[in-house]
């Protein structure tokens, strides 16, 4: 059955190394066409259709399969993903090349291949006896692969001819390489370029827009002027990086200034961690998140990070000269010590392009097919795309992918991928922010749902094994109002020996989500539930999140309990973990619980239990703060939604009650106890959470700001920081303390999940705990599910599985979770921002008091406590005489004409919605008080109405 042949491949790497590999060539690999007698059923998985009913192609009328080469797959994946394109043969050679060159495309093509409806077939041509091609003398790897692809295409055509003479099935070779195509036609293989083929699909004209424009003709219209210097080839870059002349790092464009970016240098050497790039030419076509190689400039050319806020608004190519002017503007005199290492991009090591959401800025010329696309993310440059549906796409959110960035083009070239919907509509905007933050939000697939328990569900004998029956205990849950995914419940009772028994009961999600199945994989991928203002994107299907796992009152629910025996001084005497069955007696809101505790005439079991908990929580909190735990603050707001339209009608800052802190205290305690237990049991692969101490330089801004108010903030330890924050009070300025805490929050590092075997610093800085993990919210965080499993194994209540004890797999999970959490947070913020806009849209123009948070070179950033809203007030506007600005970085302060602004100064600003830029509708703030002639706008409300529309008109004319 197996025909084998041994080949010797010799390669030299480094020293003298002889590598001998065998290669078995087979004759049992199927061609993927059903009904083929020669290789009948020799393949499994998705296969081609016997009679492809492809959309009619004018260049190839008979039924056919497609066989794309590597570059087509890499660049035209958007076209191939379209449901109209089916019956494609993907060669192993092609797949391997794609795998080496672009991981995201490889993943996408695998997804397509697994989709039964698409009829993609992977042909293992490298192991096939008749299609294997040996590299010839003097032939490079690329040419060999091209030849291998052509050989396979030829083989296919002959093979299919043999199959049946009458139904002329053809395999069409798709390549964009002109030479390759010519050779193919010479060899008698029907070959077309991707463009030719897609254009011939008369039934699907919309596919043309999706074509990536890589063809040479794209260049001819542009001015021949070369703007950028050439990127060095990879081999030179690697040499340079090895010898230290170039540095490798991740390119991070600045959100505020499109002419500036930083590069985070990979590697451990502490110095030169971050390099500044300034100016279009030095950025040299790098796009946010690319891995680039940079060259350091001589010290004489070093610059300081500019504090100017600049947005790219130019429409056409001729702006290049203007850019230079602007660049000069950045380089203002700065003191020596502000200078940071500066460099320029010499080459791109890896592009990290993804499809971007944004809007079309329609070209001024009516018939033009080339338009600029403005991404929603300000760090991404504008992209030039070619489309014929500009008028339909105008005012809509669309997705565009970048194809390339030629040297003589100011903007990268791209192509249109998808239309999301009208701008400003809530669904579209939500979709945009979910896509932009890479939040998986598709409905759960059938495969995932099939692992849900069958309804009606009840607790069986089997479930009771290894479980303690705690249904008799007086357990209750305390949550925010309207919460449907209750994952924690509490109880407290006095024991006979006078001690207190306190229990934290967490929904037993790991009972329902079994390791390795589709449900588990999907929740691991999602990582966390994302809460947007009016929507919740669940991590687990609703049946679990709002029903079976939710610890509602008066029903039996499975739980994982952590039970302590404590004395009245809140010292833990004994800790016990067990799987259990509970029956919650009441689901309370924070307010209800507070009421019960406060009202003297209520003395039922639940209330006594709550009072006991509250008393202990206070002691615990005090002890925690003594140890140096930080209480930080961030302005959190909640929207009151209109129940009909779901439009925000009012917003309020979140209120904090004693009961909030009570629940929090016990959750912290449970998390810490569990962290200790699992680390004790699994020292190498416990999933923990750490919060690194921020480097001292992070605090600079806080210390400077406090000093301007004659306050001292000590930042050497968490405890001294906490204490000095507590003492930083000003009798005349009560809000100052909150402001300082907000600033302190900005100085902090991100807390992260990690695997205990891969790290040795476990400390949680913010909570001042030597060890910490997440255990208490398994319904909305996947980390907790893993921790539940670890704990279950540790107490012998559940069995282990291989991935659980693999620290590399665990580290991968942590990496994904950290990413998802960060993205969820950003998405949440974006959602709040969008709803704030909706709110101000309905509310009109308002004047509010605000405090200055930061001072920039040409602007101040202010916080409006009433709305928890942060915004920037610009002092330089186009078409207006620039006021005299003097910026002092040391204090920091900004002097405008005769008025000086310091951090924490109180100002009055006018808030309105700026719709001049549809893409980024933003809250616009302008100064009202203190009055500076020519800058601030009059407070007089009667004037304002006149002023508002006039201002708008002026901007539109611009």
């Amino acid at each position: 059955m197996l025909k084998s042949k041994t080949f010797l491949k010799k390669t030299r790497a480094g020293g003298v190394m002889k590598i001998v590999r065998e290669h078995y060539l087979r004759d049992d690999i199927g061609c993927g066409a059903p009904g083929c007698a020669a290789c009948g059923g020799a393949h499994e998985g998705p296969a081609l259709e016997p009679q492809p009913q492809d959309p009619a192609s004018s260049v190839c009328p008979q039924p056919h399969y497609l066989l794309p080469d590597t570059n087509v797959l890499l660049h035209q994946i958007d076209v191939l993903e379209d449901p109209a394109i089916r019956n494609v043969i993907v060669l192993q050679t092609v797949l391997q090349e794609v795998r080496n060159r672009s991981a995201p495309v490889y993943k996408r093509i695998r997804d397509v291949t697994n989709n039964q409806e698409k009829h993609f077939y992977t042909f293992t041509n490298e192991h096939h006896r008749e299609t294997y091609v040996e590299q010839e003398q003097g032939e490079n790897a690329n040419d060999r692969n091209d030849r291998a692809i052509r050989v396979a295409a030829k083989w296919y055509n002959e093979h299919l001819k043999k199959m049946s003479a009458d139904n002329q099935l053809q395999v069409i070779f798709i390549t964009n390489d002109r030479r390759n195509k010519e050779k193919a036609i010479e060899e008698g293989i029907p070959a077309f370029t991707c463009e030719e083929y897609v254009k011939s699909l008369t039934a699907n004209p919309e596919l043309i827009d999706r074509l990536a424009c890589l063809s040479e003709e794209g260049n001819e219209i542009e001015s021949g002027k070369i703007i950028f210097s050439e990127h060095l080839p990879l081999s030179k870059l690697q040499q340079g990086i090895k010898s230290g002349t170039y540095l490798q790092g991740t390119f991070r464009a600045s959100r505020e200034n499109y002419l500036e970016a930083t590069v985070w240098i990979h590697g451990d050497n502490e110095e030169n961690k971050e390099i500044i790039l300034q100016g279009l030419k030095h950025l040299n076509r790098a796009v946010h998140e690319d891995i680039v190689a940079v060259e350091l400039l001589p010290k004489s050319q070093w610059v300081a990070p500019s504090s100017v806020v600049l947005h790219d608004e130019g429409q056409n190519e001729e702006d290049v000269e203007k850019e230079e002017e602007r660049e000069r503007m950045l380089k203002t005199a700065v003191s020596e010590k502000m200078l940071k290492p500066t460099g320029r991009v010499v080459g791109i090591i890896k592009r990290n392009w993804r499809p971007y959401c944004g809007m079309l800025s329609k070209s001024d010329i009516k018939e033009s097919r080339r338009h600029l696309f403005t991404p929603a993310d300000k760090r991404i440059p504008r992209i030039r795309i070619e489309t014929r549906q500009a008028s339909t796409l105008e005012g809509r959110r669309i997705i565009v992918a970048i194809d390339g960035w030629p040297r003589n083009s100011r903007y990268p070239n791209g192509h249109f991928v998808r239309n999301l919907g009208d701008v400003g509509e809530k669904e579209t905007e939500t979709e945009v922010l979910l896509l932009e933050h890479d939040v998986p939000h598709q409905p759960f697939s059938q495969a995932v749902l099939s692992f849900l328990p069958k309804m009606p569900w009840s607790i069986t004998e089997k479930d009771m094994k290894n479980r303690e029956d705690l249904r008799h205990l007086c357990i209750c849950s305390v949550d925010p109002p309207g919460c449907t995914d209750i994952d924690d419940a509490l109880h407290c009772r006095e024991l006979e020996n006078g001690n207190l028994e306190v229990g934290v009961h967490i929904a037993d999600v790991s009972h329902f989500i079994r390791p390795g199945n589709a449900l588990d994989q999907e929740s691991a991928r999602r990582g966390t539930t994302v809460y947007l203002c009016e929507k919740r994107i669940d991590m687990v299907p609703e049946l679990l999140s709002s029903n079976l796992c939710s610890l509602q009152c008066d029903v039996d629910r499975l739980a994982f309990s952590c039970i302590w025996e404590m004395n009245h001084n809140a010292e833990i005497l004994k800790t016990k973990f067990t799987k259990s069955v509970i029956n919650s007696k009441a689901s309370l809101t924070y307010a209800e619980a507070q009421l019960r505790i406060d009202s003297a005439n209520m003395n039922d079991d639940i209330t006594t239990s709550l009072r006991g908990l509250n008393k202990l929580a206070k002691i615990l909190k005090k002890r925690r703060i003594e140890k140096g735990a930080l209480t930080l603050s961030s302005p959190e707001v909640r929207f009151h939604m209109d129940s009909e339209t779901h439009d925000p009608i009012d917003l309020q800052t979140k209120e904090l009650r004693e009961t909030n802190s009570m629940v929090e205290e016990f959750m912290l305690l449970a998390n810490i106890s569990v962290a200790k237990k699992i680390h004790e049991e699994f020292s190498e692969h416990a999933l923990l959470r750490k919060h690194p101490a921020p480097p001292p330089s992070n605090y600079e801004i806080l210390v400077k700001a406090a000093r301007s108010r004659n306050l001292e903030i000590k930042t050497d330890t968490a405890k001294s920081l906490a204490e000095s924050l507590d003492q930083a009070e000003s009798p005349t300025f009560p809000y100052l303390n909150t402001l300082l805490r907000i600033l302190a929050t900005r100085c902090m590092m991100q807390a992260v999940y990690f695997c205990s075997g891969m790290d040795n610093d476990f400390h949680h800085y913010g909570l001042a705990s030597p060890i910490y993990t997440h255990f208490t919210s398994p319904i909305r965080r996947y980390a907790d599910v893993i921790v539940h499993r670890l704990l279950a194994v540790a107490i012998g209540a559940d069995c282990t599985y291989p991935e659980l004890t693999d620290k590399h797999k665990l580290a991968d999970i942590c990496k994904n979770l950290n990413f998802r959490h960060k993205m969820a947070q950003y998405a949440q913020r974006a959602s709040v921002a969008f709803h704030t806009q909706l709110f101000f849209k309905s509310k009109g123009i308002v004047s509010e008091e605000a405090y200055i948070l930061f001072v920039r070179k040409n602007a101040i950033v202010v916080l409006i406590p009433k709305y928890g809203l942060e915004g920037t007030v610009f002092f330089e506007e186009k078409d207006k005489p620039n006021p005299q600005l003097i910026y002092d970085d040391e204090i920091p302060s900004l002097k405008i004409e005769d008025t000086v602004f310091h951090v924490f100064d109180k100002v009055k600003v006018k808030i309105m919605l700026d719709s001049s830029n549809l893409q980024h509708q933003k809250i616009r703030m302008s100064l009202v008080e203190p009055q500076i002639p020519g800058i601030s706008i009059p407070t007089d409300t009667s004037n304002m109405d006149l002023n508002g529309p006039k201002k708008k008109k002026m901007k539109l004319g611009k």
């Binding site: 020293g15 190394m17 590999r21 293992t124």
Partner: protein, 243 residues
């Protein structure tokens, strides 16, 4: 750059084999005249020579002689040119000693040592390139058979690894070097008894059974091949003897 894909989605390994398929095996018995038994085996690019002397009287210190059974003495050495990087000396290093010890354990289990009390059987194995233990055992089995020493059964060995939830039989050097778990199994195929089982990587116990089954199946396949080689050899020998 992405790492090496040991098992493709279509189920093919780097060298074109499927998960359960062995490399090509070629073997010959009676390659040396002066030894009592000898054999040569090729498993893919792994080549091993085994020679057997004995049973004969104990050489050297008589104190080593066992009262009730024969002493099996194994020595393993690999040619200095057999690996990618040239070795300093062919035998005597830690790895060779360990391999010798393992071979000895394997064959003490298989040879009917009690038939030859107070005597010694020497097995010398010479090895060349990759996938080592299994080839040595298979070569030694043939050599012992060639020497006419009574055995309970063939000893057939095969390695198995584990990649992405699939057990791979008969690992090649590339697959071994990728760093996954590797298990070596020596089996007495007729009875299904295990003469030696060795694994020094971490593998979750849930997977062990599958990997073990893959190795055992591969060992049974090896047995079929070795059996064919032995019969062929006997046929040739009998023709030469003129029977």
């Amino acid at each position: 750059m992405a790492g090496l894909e040991l098992l493709s989605d279509q189920g093919y390994r780097v060298d074109g084999r499927r998960a359960g398929e062995l490399r090509k095996i070629q073997a010959r018995m009676g390659v040396f005249a002066q030894a009592d038994g000898s054999a040569y085996i090729e498993q893919g690019n792994t080549k091993a020579l085994a020679v057997v002397y004995g049973p004969h009287e104990i050489r050297g210190s008589r104190a080593r002689a066992l009262p009730d059974r024969a002493l099996v003495n194994c020595q393993y050495s690999s040619a200095t040119f057999s690996t990618g990087e040239r070795k300093r000396r062919p035998h005597g290093d830690r790895k060779s000693c360990e391999m010798g010890l393992q071979l000895r354990q394997t064959f003490e289990a298989a040879i009917l040592t009690q038939l030859h009390p107070r005597s010694q059987i020497d097995i010398y194995v010479l090895q060349a390139d990759g996938g080592t233990y299994a080839a040595c055992v298979n070569a030694a089995t043939l050599a012992v058979l060639d020497a006419g020493i009574p055995m309970r059964d063939f000893v057939c060995a095969c390695s198995a690894g584990f990649v992405d939830g699939t057990a791979l039989a008969d690992l090649s050097h590339v697959e071994e070097a990728a760093g996954g778990p590797q298990l070596a199994l020596a089996l007495l195929p007729a009875s299904g008894q295990i003469a030696l089982l060795e694994m020094d990587a971490r593998l979750h116990e849930d997977h062990l059974e599958r990997v073990l089954e893959a190795a055992a199946q591969a060992a049974r396949d090896v047995h079929t091949l070795l059996d064919r080689v032995v019969r062929q050899h006997v046929r040739e020998a009998s023709i030469l003897l003129g029977d």
